[in-house]
């Protein structure tokens, strides 16, 4: 229903809205599909007091490239294969006893599960992180974006593959 605003009636604020145009299905998916559609769940989580040696064992046995470090339900860090390389590999015999809080990546960059998928790619492109934690609006961990999920997402929307 419409009416004349000059007569004090309702004017639809979206009346002149032009929806975004995309060149193809992939561009549309990047902008419109939420992160929740590509996140991986469940994820491997550990506490910050776990030793680096134990974390390495968990990663090897679980074929996991990144563990989320959670304390009291809050994401406090990540411990990835890159952290193993940078922080513990060359002196592993001694550093294996260090707690993750000393060797993890603190305050990791994350995305919300309601963000567009492009946000996750943005984090990866800008920061270089290959694994991006996903939180909900209550800051609770809801998953992780990993390279495999991103690759699958891209191939799915390129089509014909």
């Amino acid at each position: 229903m419409t009416s004349n605003p000059s007569e004090g009636g309702f004017q639809d604020p979206l009346e002149n809205y032009d929806p975004p145009e995309y060149s193809d299905a992939l561009e549309k998916a990047l902008a419109e599909e939420p992160v929740s559609s590509i996140r991986s769940w469940p994820v491997s989580t550990v506490g910050p007091g776990v030793t680096a040696g134990e974390a390495v064992r968990v990663m090897s046995e679980g074929d996991a490239a990144c563990l989320l470090v959670v304390e009291d339900g809050e994401l406090v860090g990540t411990f990835s294969v890159r952290d193993v390389l940078n922080s513990v590999s060359e002196d592993f015999e001694s550093s294996r006893e260090k707690p993750l809080r000393e060797v993890m990546t603190k305050s990791p960059t994350f995305v919300y599960d309601s963000d567009a998928s492009g946000a996750a790619l943005s984090v990866m492109a800008v920061t270089g992180f290959r694994h991006v934690p996903v939180l909900d609006s209550d800051e609770t961990v809801r998953g992780i974006i990993n390279p495999q999920r991103v690759t699958d997402f891209l191939l799915k929307h390129i089509g014909g593959v």
């Binding site: 390389l85 960059t109 994350f110 790619l121 492109a125 939180l135 891209l154």
Partner: protein, 156 residues
Amino acid sequence: MGLQQSIKAEPVSRLPLREALLVGPETSPRMAVTTMKAKQLGCVVVVDGGGKPLGTFTESSLVNLLASDPGVLDHRTVADFLDPKWAVVRQTAPVLEVLKAMHEQDVRFVVVTDGEGRAVALTGQKGMMEYIAEHYPQQVMVQRVGSKPTSEREGA
């Protein structure tokens, strides 16, 4: 040209490529780790005498090595710990081939070879993300992200 068409049509050489860290099969894991750490790259490419790739020693190889016996860092060779999953594409192949290789081999790094099959560069997931961001900046690069961006690094 849209992003989808670009990925299908443009060659791998248009991707942001990294220098491939080439090592011989007799290199010790410790030397490989030192090289990877210095260059902040997640793998070295193990090549034969002609520069043709034999496999990759990756961060995942390192994790498995440390979990089993960290003492072998100095006493074995990278050839003993090659990642069973690795992928190669030619630099003239479409970008799409990189995506397919990462998907089919379940890898993050893809070795790029020249026409003679010699390893000349490395690309992978980060290269793809940068390529998409470059072609699609109006949607990708303006997204809000949580926390503070860190200094540039390859991998995590």
